[in-house]
Protein backbone atom coordinates (compact mmCIF):
# COMPACT_ATOMS: atom_id res chain seq x y z
CA UNK A 1 0.00 0.00 0.00
CA UNK A 2 1.27 3.43 -0.79
CA UNK A 3 1.37 5.98 1.94
CA UNK A 4 -1.45 8.49 1.55
CA UNK A 5 0.36 11.76 1.43
CA UNK A 6 -1.32 14.80 2.82
CA UNK A 7 0.35 18.09 2.12
CA UNK A 8 -0.88 21.49 3.20
CA UNK A 9 -1.97 23.63 0.29
CA UNK A 10 0.28 26.67 -0.20
CA UNK A 11 -2.38 29.11 0.93
CA UNK A 12 -3.00 27.26 4.12
CA UNK A 13 -3.64 29.68 6.86
CA UNK A 14 -5.28 27.26 9.21
CA UNK A 15 -3.38 25.79 12.07
CA UNK A 16 -1.16 22.92 11.11
CA UNK A 17 -0.87 19.96 13.37
CA UNK A 18 1.91 17.48 13.04
CA UNK A 19 0.21 14.16 13.42
CA UNK A 20 2.77 11.59 12.65
CA UNK A 21 6.48 12.16 12.42
CA UNK A 22 7.37 8.53 12.26
CA UNK A 23 6.56 8.35 8.59
CA UNK A 24 9.93 9.40 7.24
CA UNK A 25 8.36 12.52 5.81
CA UNK A 26 6.07 14.04 8.32
CA UNK A 27 2.36 14.35 7.64
CA UNK A 28 0.46 17.48 8.27
CA UNK A 29 -3.20 17.93 8.34
CA UNK A 30 -5.13 21.03 8.94
CA UNK A 31 -7.25 21.26 12.03
CA UNK A 32 -10.23 21.79 9.77
CA UNK A 33 -9.47 18.61 7.89
CA UNK A 34 -12.89 18.44 6.31
CA UNK A 35 -11.73 21.32 4.13
CA UNK A 36 -8.89 19.25 2.75
CA UNK A 37 -9.22 18.37 -0.87
CA UNK A 38 -9.70 14.59 -1.24
CA UNK A 39 -7.93 14.43 -4.64
CA UNK A 40 -4.63 14.91 -2.79
CA UNK A 41 -5.00 11.39 -1.42
CA UNK A 42 -5.88 9.63 -4.66
CA UNK A 43 -5.48 7.02 -5.88
CA UNK A 44 -6.17 4.89 -2.83
CA UNK A 45 -4.76 1.43 -2.57
CA UNK A 46 -7.31 -1.41 -2.60
CA UNK A 47 -7.07 -2.11 1.16
CA UNK A 48 -7.59 1.55 2.06
CA UNK A 49 -10.45 1.89 -0.39
CA UNK A 50 -12.26 -1.15 0.93
CA UNK A 51 -11.64 -0.27 4.57
CA UNK A 52 -13.25 3.12 3.94
CA UNK A 53 -16.19 1.44 2.20
CA UNK A 54 -16.57 -0.89 5.16
CA UNK A 55 -16.84 2.11 7.48
CA UNK A 56 -19.22 4.01 5.19
CA UNK A 57 -22.42 2.70 6.73
CA UNK A 58 -21.45 2.13 10.34
CA UNK A 59 -18.54 2.18 12.71
CA UNK A 60 -16.80 -1.16 13.12
CA UNK A 61 -13.99 -2.81 15.03
CA UNK A 62 -11.01 -4.35 13.24
CA UNK A 63 -12.42 -7.81 12.82
CA UNK A 64 -15.72 -6.39 11.61
CA UNK A 65 -13.85 -4.35 8.99
CA UNK A 66 -12.07 -7.48 7.76
CA UNK A 67 -15.35 -9.38 7.50
CA UNK A 68 -17.05 -6.58 5.62
CA UNK A 69 -14.13 -6.19 3.20
CA UNK A 70 -14.28 -9.93 2.50
CA UNK A 71 -18.01 -9.60 1.80
CA UNK A 72 -17.52 -6.59 -0.51
CA UNK A 73 -14.93 -8.41 -2.59
CA UNK A 74 -16.49 -11.89 -2.46
CA UNK A 75 -13.56 -13.09 -0.40
CA UNK A 76 -10.93 -11.89 -2.87
CA UNK A 77 -9.40 -9.47 -0.39
CA UNK A 78 -8.77 -11.03 3.01
CA UNK A 79 -7.02 -8.54 5.19
CA UNK A 80 -4.60 -9.93 7.73
CA UNK A 81 -4.16 -8.19 11.06
CA UNK A 82 -0.80 -6.66 10.12
CA UNK A 83 -2.07 -5.16 6.88
CA UNK A 84 -5.30 -3.95 8.44
CA UNK A 85 -3.79 -2.21 11.43
CA UNK A 86 -0.93 -0.84 9.35
CA UNK A 87 -3.51 0.77 7.05
CA UNK A 88 -5.60 2.02 9.95
CA UNK A 89 -2.55 3.60 11.52
CA UNK A 90 -1.78 5.55 8.35
CA UNK A 91 -5.43 6.40 7.77
CA UNK A 92 -5.68 7.75 11.30
CA UNK A 93 -2.61 9.85 10.65
CA UNK A 94 -4.10 11.16 7.42
CA UNK A 95 -7.39 11.95 9.11
CA UNK A 96 -9.48 9.56 7.01
CA UNK A 97 -10.77 7.65 10.01
CA UNK A 98 -10.93 8.26 13.71
CA UNK A 99 -11.16 6.12 16.77
CA UNK A 100 -14.54 5.81 18.33
CA UNK A 101 -15.35 4.59 21.85
CA UNK A 102 -14.42 1.17 23.02
CA UNK A 103 -17.27 -1.16 23.60
CA UNK A 104 -18.34 -4.77 23.45
CA UNK A 105 -19.60 -6.39 20.26
CA UNK A 106 -23.08 -7.77 21.00
CA UNK A 107 -22.64 -10.62 18.52
CA UNK A 108 -19.15 -11.89 19.30
CA UNK A 109 -18.79 -11.59 23.06
CA UNK A 110 -18.75 -9.05 25.80
CA UNK A 111 -15.10 -8.14 25.44
CA UNK A 112 -14.34 -4.46 24.91
CA UNK A 113 -13.15 -3.60 21.43
CA UNK A 114 -12.02 -0.41 19.81
CA UNK A 115 -14.31 0.88 17.09
CA UNK A 116 -13.31 2.98 14.10
CA UNK A 117 -15.41 5.57 12.35
CA UNK A 118 -15.02 7.41 9.05
CA UNK A 119 -14.39 11.16 9.11
CA UNK A 120 -15.99 13.60 6.65
CA UNK A 121 -12.63 13.75 4.87
CA UNK A 122 -12.69 9.98 4.60
CA UNK A 123 -16.18 10.06 3.13
CA UNK A 124 -15.22 12.69 0.55
CA UNK A 125 -12.07 10.79 -0.31
CA UNK A 126 -13.78 7.45 -0.86
CA UNK A 127 -16.43 9.20 -2.97
CA UNK A 128 -13.76 10.83 -5.08
CA UNK A 129 -11.96 7.51 -5.46
CA UNK A 130 -15.17 5.75 -6.44
CA UNK A 131 -15.90 8.30 -9.16
CA UNK A 132 -12.28 8.16 -10.34
CA UNK A 133 -12.60 4.38 -10.65
CA UNK A 134 -15.98 4.75 -12.39
CA UNK A 135 -14.33 7.07 -14.92
CA UNK A 136 -11.55 4.56 -15.51
CA UNK A 137 -14.05 1.73 -15.91
CA UNK A 138 -16.17 3.63 -18.43
CA UNK A 139 -13.06 4.54 -20.43
CA UNK A 140 -12.10 0.86 -20.42
CA UNK A 141 -15.60 -0.12 -21.56
CA UNK A 142 -15.40 2.24 -24.51
CA UNK A 143 -11.95 1.02 -25.51
CA UNK A 144 -12.77 -2.64 -25.10
CA UNK A 145 -16.17 -2.45 -26.76
CA UNK A 146 -18.03 -3.51 -23.65
CA UNK A 147 -20.26 -0.46 -23.45
CA UNK A 148 -24.00 -0.36 -24.06
CA UNK A 149 -24.79 -4.00 -23.41
CA UNK A 150 -23.79 -5.09 -26.91
Amino acid sequence: MEMPEVRPSPDATAKIIVIDRTAGSAYYIRSGYNMKKPPDLLPLTPPVFHILLALADEERHGYGIMQDVARQTNGALQLGPGTLYGCLKRMLAAGLVEESEEGPDPELDDERRRYYRMTPLGRNTVRAEASRLAGAVSAAKVKLGLAGGK
Binding site: G62, Y63, P81, G82, G86, L108, R113
Partner: protein, 312 residues
Protein backbone atom coordinates in the same frame (compact mmCIF):
# COMPACT_ATOMS: atom_id res chain seq x y z
CA UNK B 1 -15.64 -18.49 25.76
CA UNK B 2 -13.73 -21.73 26.00
CA UNK B 3 -11.16 -22.14 23.27
CA UNK B 4 -9.61 -25.43 22.35
CA UNK B 5 -5.99 -26.02 23.30
CA UNK B 6 -4.95 -25.54 19.67
CA UNK B 7 -6.47 -22.09 19.39
CA UNK B 8 -4.79 -21.05 22.61
CA UNK B 9 -1.46 -22.37 21.35
CA UNK B 10 -1.59 -20.58 17.99
CA UNK B 11 -2.76 -17.38 19.70
CA UNK B 12 0.27 -17.59 21.99
CA UNK B 13 2.45 -18.07 18.92
CA UNK B 14 0.88 -15.09 17.25
CA UNK B 15 1.40 -12.98 20.36
CA UNK B 16 5.10 -13.87 20.13
CA UNK B 17 5.16 -12.99 16.44
CA UNK B 18 3.96 -9.49 17.31
CA UNK B 19 7.47 -8.81 18.60
CA UNK B 20 8.42 -8.54 14.93
CA UNK B 21 6.69 -5.17 14.79
CA UNK B 22 8.31 -1.96 15.97
CA UNK B 23 7.73 -1.20 19.62
CA UNK B 24 5.44 1.76 19.11
CA UNK B 25 3.19 -0.08 16.71
CA UNK B 26 3.11 -3.14 18.91
CA UNK B 27 2.18 -1.27 22.05
CA UNK B 28 -0.60 0.57 20.25
CA UNK B 29 -2.21 -2.30 18.34
CA UNK B 30 -1.15 -5.42 20.20
CA UNK B 31 -4.42 -6.08 21.97
CA UNK B 32 -6.55 -5.40 18.92
CA UNK B 33 -4.42 -7.60 16.69
CA UNK B 34 -4.56 -10.46 19.16
CA UNK B 35 -8.34 -10.11 19.37
CA UNK B 36 -8.51 -10.06 15.60
CA UNK B 37 -6.37 -13.15 15.24
CA UNK B 38 -8.26 -15.07 17.89
CA UNK B 39 -11.61 -14.18 16.34
CA UNK B 40 -10.37 -15.46 12.99
CA UNK B 41 -9.26 -18.76 14.55
CA UNK B 42 -12.60 -19.13 16.32
CA UNK B 43 -14.48 -18.47 13.11
CA UNK B 44 -12.47 -21.09 11.23
CA UNK B 45 -12.94 -23.56 14.08
CA UNK B 46 -16.71 -22.96 14.10
CA UNK B 47 -16.94 -23.63 10.40
CA UNK B 48 -15.29 -27.03 10.96
CA UNK B 49 -13.36 -26.71 7.75
CA UNK B 50 -10.80 -29.09 6.30
CA UNK B 51 -7.11 -28.98 7.04
CA UNK B 52 -6.31 -27.16 3.79
CA UNK B 53 -8.19 -24.12 5.11
CA UNK B 54 -5.84 -24.06 8.08
CA UNK B 55 -2.87 -24.39 5.77
CA UNK B 56 -3.96 -21.44 3.61
CA UNK B 57 -4.78 -19.52 6.77
CA UNK B 58 -1.30 -20.05 8.18
CA UNK B 59 0.31 -19.18 4.85
CA UNK B 60 -1.82 -16.01 4.65
CA UNK B 61 -0.88 -15.10 8.18
CA UNK B 62 2.80 -15.57 7.43
CA UNK B 63 2.56 -13.44 4.28
CA UNK B 64 0.68 -10.77 6.18
CA UNK B 65 3.21 -10.86 8.99
CA UNK B 66 6.25 -10.68 6.73
CA UNK B 67 4.77 -7.92 4.59
CA UNK B 68 3.50 -5.75 7.41
CA UNK B 69 6.48 -6.10 9.76
CA UNK B 70 8.82 -5.06 6.97
CA UNK B 71 6.50 -2.22 6.07
CA UNK B 72 6.22 -0.96 9.60
CA UNK B 73 9.95 -1.21 9.99
CA UNK B 74 10.36 0.83 6.80
CA UNK B 75 12.55 -1.67 5.06
CA UNK B 76 12.91 -0.74 1.39
CA UNK B 77 10.86 -2.78 -1.10
CA UNK B 78 13.94 -4.14 -2.81
CA UNK B 79 15.40 -5.47 0.44
CA UNK B 80 12.01 -6.93 1.39
CA UNK B 81 11.77 -8.94 -1.78
CA UNK B 82 15.27 -10.30 -1.48
CA UNK B 83 14.82 -11.08 2.19
CA UNK B 84 11.70 -13.10 1.44
CA UNK B 85 13.42 -14.91 -1.42
CA UNK B 86 16.36 -15.74 0.81
CA UNK B 87 14.10 -16.99 3.61
CA UNK B 88 12.19 -19.22 1.22
CA UNK B 89 15.44 -20.51 -0.19
CA UNK B 90 16.78 -21.33 3.26
CA UNK B 91 13.51 -22.97 4.25
CA UNK B 92 13.33 -25.08 1.12
CA UNK B 93 16.96 -26.15 1.16
CA UNK B 94 17.00 -27.04 4.83
CA UNK B 95 13.74 -28.95 5.02
CA UNK B 96 12.57 -30.00 1.59
CA UNK B 97 15.34 -30.56 -0.91
CA UNK B 98 19.07 -30.45 -0.76
CA UNK B 99 21.72 -30.44 -3.44
CA UNK B 100 24.40 -33.11 -3.40
CA UNK B 101 27.20 -34.07 -5.68
CA UNK B 102 28.08 -37.72 -6.01
CA UNK B 103 31.82 -38.14 -5.50
CA UNK B 104 32.31 -41.87 -5.94
CA UNK B 105 31.48 -44.45 -8.53
CA UNK B 106 29.84 -46.95 -6.21
CA UNK B 107 26.55 -46.60 -8.08
CA UNK B 108 28.23 -46.44 -11.49
CA UNK B 109 25.82 -47.55 -14.15
CA UNK B 110 22.93 -45.61 -12.63
CA UNK B 111 24.63 -42.70 -10.95
CA UNK B 112 27.95 -41.38 -12.19
CA UNK B 113 30.76 -39.52 -10.49
CA UNK B 114 29.97 -35.84 -10.86
CA UNK B 115 26.19 -36.14 -10.90
CA UNK B 116 24.81 -33.11 -9.08
CA UNK B 117 21.42 -33.97 -7.72
CA UNK B 118 18.59 -32.62 -5.66
CA UNK B 119 17.51 -34.92 -2.88
CA UNK B 120 13.88 -34.93 -1.78
CA UNK B 121 14.05 -34.76 2.00
CA UNK B 122 10.36 -35.20 2.77
CA UNK B 123 9.46 -38.25 0.71
CA UNK B 124 10.34 -40.86 3.30
CA UNK B 125 8.96 -41.40 6.76
CA UNK B 126 12.33 -41.02 8.37
CA UNK B 127 13.41 -38.16 6.15
CA UNK B 128 15.59 -35.38 7.49
CA UNK B 129 12.73 -33.30 8.83
CA UNK B 130 9.97 -35.12 10.56
CA UNK B 131 7.40 -32.40 11.05
CA UNK B 132 6.61 -32.41 7.34
CA UNK B 133 5.41 -36.00 7.55
CA UNK B 134 2.27 -34.70 9.23
CA UNK B 135 1.24 -32.72 6.18
CA UNK B 136 2.97 -34.13 3.14
CA UNK B 137 2.58 -37.56 1.60
CA UNK B 138 5.43 -39.92 2.41
CA UNK B 139 6.15 -43.62 2.49
CA UNK B 140 8.44 -46.15 4.07
CA UNK B 141 11.80 -46.98 2.59
CA UNK B 142 11.41 -50.05 0.40
CA UNK B 143 13.82 -52.63 -0.97
CA UNK B 144 15.25 -51.44 -4.25
CA UNK B 145 14.97 -47.72 -3.41
CA UNK B 146 17.93 -45.54 -4.15
CA UNK B 147 18.38 -43.41 -1.07
CA UNK B 148 20.73 -40.72 0.16
CA UNK B 149 21.76 -41.26 3.76
CA UNK B 150 24.39 -40.20 6.23
CA UNK B 151 27.38 -42.46 6.37
CA UNK B 152 27.37 -44.39 9.66
CA UNK B 153 31.15 -43.96 9.78
CA UNK B 154 31.14 -40.25 9.15
CA UNK B 155 27.85 -38.48 9.76
CA UNK B 156 29.04 -35.45 7.88
CA UNK B 157 29.22 -37.41 4.65
CA UNK B 158 26.20 -38.32 2.59
CA UNK B 159 26.16 -41.51 0.55
CA UNK B 160 23.84 -42.64 -2.20
CA UNK B 161 23.15 -46.37 -2.41
CA UNK B 162 20.42 -48.88 -2.99
CA UNK B 163 18.42 -50.52 -0.20
CA UNK B 164 18.94 -54.27 -0.38
CA UNK B 165 17.71 -55.39 3.01
CA UNK B 166 15.05 -54.02 5.34
CA UNK B 167 14.60 -55.18 8.97
CA UNK B 168 14.15 -58.94 9.21
CA UNK B 169 15.75 -59.74 5.85
CA UNK B 170 18.43 -62.43 5.63
CA UNK B 171 21.18 -61.50 3.19
CA UNK B 172 24.13 -63.35 1.74
CA UNK B 173 26.15 -63.35 -1.45
CA UNK B 174 27.22 -66.33 -3.46
CA UNK B 175 29.67 -65.66 -6.27
CA UNK B 176 28.45 -62.04 -6.62
CA UNK B 177 24.82 -63.17 -6.57
CA UNK B 178 22.74 -61.61 -3.80
CA UNK B 179 20.48 -64.06 -2.01
CA UNK B 180 17.79 -62.47 0.12
CA UNK B 181 15.63 -64.64 2.35
CA UNK B 182 16.78 -67.68 0.42
CA UNK B 183 15.88 -66.24 -2.97
CA UNK B 184 18.30 -65.27 -5.68
CA UNK B 185 17.72 -61.68 -6.74
CA UNK B 186 17.56 -60.77 -10.38
CA UNK B 187 19.16 -57.37 -10.34
CA UNK B 188 19.23 -55.66 -13.73
CA UNK B 189 20.77 -52.55 -12.16
CA UNK B 190 23.78 -54.35 -10.66
CA UNK B 191 27.11 -54.02 -12.44
CA UNK B 192 30.20 -56.15 -12.23
CA UNK B 193 33.50 -54.82 -13.44
CA UNK B 194 36.05 -57.40 -12.37
CA UNK B 195 35.73 -61.06 -13.32
CA UNK B 196 37.70 -62.31 -10.31
CA UNK B 197 36.05 -63.44 -7.12
CA UNK B 198 37.01 -61.68 -3.91
CA UNK B 199 35.88 -63.97 -1.16
CA UNK B 200 34.91 -61.25 1.26
CA UNK B 201 33.16 -59.10 -1.32
CA UNK B 202 31.45 -61.77 -3.38
CA UNK B 203 30.77 -64.54 -0.89
CA UNK B 204 29.65 -62.29 1.92
CA UNK B 205 29.51 -62.79 4.88
CA UNK B 206 32.78 -64.57 5.60
CA UNK B 207 35.02 -63.00 8.22
CA UNK B 208 36.08 -59.40 8.83
CA UNK B 209 39.00 -58.28 6.70
CA UNK B 210 41.22 -55.22 6.39
CA UNK B 211 38.56 -52.88 5.00
CA UNK B 212 35.87 -53.85 7.48
CA UNK B 213 35.20 -50.88 9.78
CA UNK B 214 34.04 -50.95 13.38
CA UNK B 215 30.40 -51.00 12.30
CA UNK B 216 31.08 -53.92 9.99
CA UNK B 217 32.85 -55.87 12.73
CA UNK B 218 29.92 -55.30 15.03
CA UNK B 219 27.60 -56.65 12.34
CA UNK B 220 29.76 -59.74 12.00
CA UNK B 221 29.78 -60.24 15.75
CA UNK B 222 26.08 -59.83 16.33
CA UNK B 223 24.00 -60.25 13.23
CA UNK B 224 25.46 -63.17 11.35
CA UNK B 225 23.61 -66.43 11.69
CA UNK B 226 24.10 -69.57 9.61
CA UNK B 227 26.17 -67.73 7.04
CA UNK B 228 23.63 -64.97 6.57
CA UNK B 229 23.36 -61.40 7.79
CA UNK B 230 20.05 -60.67 9.50
CA UNK B 231 19.00 -57.02 9.33
CA UNK B 232 18.03 -55.84 12.84
CA UNK B 233 15.06 -53.51 13.52
CA UNK B 234 15.42 -49.88 12.38
CA UNK B 235 18.42 -50.68 10.23
CA UNK B 236 18.94 -50.98 6.50
CA UNK B 237 21.38 -52.99 4.44
CA UNK B 238 22.72 -50.85 1.61
CA UNK B 239 24.71 -51.81 -1.45
CA UNK B 240 26.12 -49.85 -4.35
CA UNK B 241 25.11 -50.92 -7.84
CA UNK B 242 28.76 -51.09 -8.84
CA UNK B 243 29.12 -54.28 -6.84
CA UNK B 244 32.80 -54.93 -7.34
CA UNK B 245 33.87 -51.45 -6.37
CA UNK B 246 31.59 -50.26 -3.63
CA UNK B 247 32.25 -49.67 0.02
CA UNK B 248 28.82 -50.44 1.38
CA UNK B 249 27.02 -52.31 4.16
CA UNK B 250 29.30 -55.28 3.50
CA UNK B 251 32.15 -53.19 4.88
CA UNK B 252 30.67 -50.72 7.31
CA UNK B 253 27.61 -52.55 8.57
CA UNK B 254 24.01 -51.39 8.68
CA UNK B 255 22.76 -47.88 8.15
CA UNK B 256 20.29 -46.74 10.84
CA UNK B 257 17.01 -45.94 9.11
CA UNK B 258 16.88 -42.51 10.72
CA UNK B 259 20.12 -41.65 8.91
CA UNK B 260 18.16 -41.63 5.67
CA UNK B 261 18.12 -38.11 4.23
CA UNK B 262 15.86 -38.68 1.28
CA UNK B 263 15.60 -39.92 -2.21
CA UNK B 264 17.42 -38.52 -5.22
CA UNK B 265 14.92 -36.42 -7.11
CA UNK B 266 16.60 -35.10 -10.19
CA UNK B 267 20.07 -34.75 -11.61
CA UNK B 268 20.33 -31.08 -12.44
CA UNK B 269 23.91 -31.14 -13.69
CA UNK B 270 26.37 -33.86 -14.46
CA UNK B 271 30.00 -32.99 -15.01
CA UNK B 272 32.64 -35.49 -15.95
CA UNK B 273 35.52 -35.10 -13.49
CA UNK B 274 37.48 -37.52 -11.32
CA UNK B 275 36.49 -38.42 -7.77
CA UNK B 276 39.38 -36.46 -6.27
CA UNK B 277 37.91 -33.21 -7.61
CA UNK B 278 34.67 -33.79 -5.76
CA UNK B 279 36.20 -35.00 -2.52
CA UNK B 280 38.49 -32.06 -1.99
CA UNK B 281 38.08 -28.56 -3.35
CA UNK B 282 40.86 -27.58 -5.71
CA UNK B 283 41.48 -24.78 -8.12
CA UNK B 284 42.20 -27.09 -11.01
CA UNK B 285 38.60 -28.25 -10.87
CA UNK B 286 37.29 -24.70 -11.14
CA UNK B 287 39.53 -24.17 -14.13
CA UNK B 288 38.37 -27.45 -15.60
CA UNK B 289 34.71 -26.45 -15.27
CA UNK B 290 35.36 -23.02 -16.74
CA UNK B 291 37.24 -24.36 -19.75
CA UNK B 292 35.30 -27.53 -20.46
CA UNK B 293 31.84 -26.70 -19.23
CA UNK B 294 30.16 -27.52 -22.52
CA UNK B 295 32.22 -30.48 -23.58
CA UNK B 296 32.45 -32.24 -20.22
CA UNK B 297 28.90 -31.70 -19.09
CA UNK B 298 26.95 -34.90 -19.71
CA UNK B 299 24.00 -33.17 -21.26
CA UNK B 300 22.00 -36.34 -21.74
CA UNK B 301 21.93 -36.88 -17.98
CA UNK B 302 20.53 -33.50 -17.16
CA UNK B 303 17.08 -33.51 -15.57
CA UNK B 304 17.02 -37.29 -15.43
CA UNK B 305 15.93 -39.20 -12.42
CA UNK B 306 17.80 -42.13 -10.84
CA UNK B 307 15.18 -44.85 -10.83
CA UNK B 308 14.29 -46.99 -7.90
CA UNK B 309 13.88 -50.50 -9.11
CA UNK B 310 12.74 -53.52 -7.22
CA UNK B 311 14.67 -56.71 -7.79
CA UNK B 312 12.61 -59.49 -9.30
Amino acid sequence: MNDSIWIRVVCRLYAAMLYGYPREFRLRYRIEMQQFFRDRCRELARERTGSWVWITFSLRTMTDWIGSTMRERRIPKLVQEWAVTLLMFLFVTTTMVQAYVVPTGSMEGNILVGDHMLVDKVGFENGGSNWSSYVLPHREVKRGDIVAFRSPDNVGMTLVKRVIGVPGDRIRLENKQVIRNGQKLDEPYARHTSPGIDDYRDNFPTAPEFYTTAGGREMFARNVQDGEVIVPPDMLFMMGDNRDNSLDSRYWGFAPSNYVVGKPLVIYWSFDAPTSDYVKWNFRHVEDVALHFFSKTRWERMLTHPRSQAAQ
